[in-house]
Symmetry: C2
Subunit: 197 residues, 2 copies
Amino acid sequence: MKKGDRTRERIIRQAAPLFNQRGYEGSSMQEIMAATKLEKGGIYRHFPSKQQLAAEAFDYAWDEARNARRHDLDRDENSVDKLKHFIANFVERRGSVPGGCPLLNTATDSDDGNIVLRTRARKALQDWQSFLGSIIANGIRKGEIRTDVAKAKLANVIIASLEGAIMIGRLEQSVEPLRHAQSHLDNYLESKVRMKN
Amino acid sequence: MKKGDRTRERIIRQAAPLFNQRGYEGSSMQEIMAATKLEKGGIYRHFPSKQQLAAEAFDYAWDEARNARRHDLDRDENSVDKLKHFIANFVERRGSVPGGCPLLNTATDSDDGNIVLRTRARKALQDWQSFLGSIIANGIRKGEIRTDVAKAKLANVIIASLEGAIMIGRLEQSVEPLRHAQSHLDNYLESKVRMKN
């Protein structure tokens, strides 16, 4: 990797916690300069705008969260076990970027304006929905998941329960709401989703 | 009401949509002045700080959302019906302040800083939890809700599912995710919460 590319990646990595914690408007150029130890010109040499940097910082933060949540999922053969494992990862593991879920933060931050960030958040959401959707579709095909399960609905119910629980948990500074969501979803998966033999 | 009080209330009412849509940092004094058609001095005559105005704007927006969601709940005698009615209100009715759920917005906006707003959001969440909690406790007492239902957990599961669904729905500009949450919660309330005779 060239030196310029390394600097570019370092800027993204160092700006990501700022954007994830303080939001787009709350992250001033001053603070980005302090976080990256670069002058304004040094930052703009690598990014045409603050918005472009924020977009790449989001992608980085999302990638980190995504990897943590998908950790070791390949070890599960059964689709319902894989969904439960994903949920457990979500509760137990965090991406390396502090400030809570980048999707929740960026979605609420950008849903009334910032179209560049909104597009990234939407893409992240779609990627998440199709990841869960394909586990569910696979499970139905393999006879592990009941055929009356609606793929898009189940994916949204899992995502909404977990993201909403993050919101509550971060306000209360407690992991309890996430455990409530996990227990609820696990019971639901066992009683209404898993195919009984 | 005195003229000063009327002006004060008007400022809150006119600033609330701005804060709810653009967040605390995203709402500049310039924009607050434009929204209220007042000079900076005219605003600071009524509020000691932007933070204080934002806090009261949150309370106002939350009150509006809260009233919409609790609309006509008294007509339900049965506690499970009351919970289902609350969920239906959440899906169908909006407070008068545009920009999505004030709690979700303010929680994600303030969870890494702004202690004044964070305290308000936390109070709103607690109020919501205890409102649902008391419906559930009443239902258990009256034999309408199963005695093995955990009050705090069920309240959090309802709140998390709905708030997470708002996040998805606002990104997708669709009411579908909220309907997924409603259908999921209604089925859950009928199959695992309502006391069977």
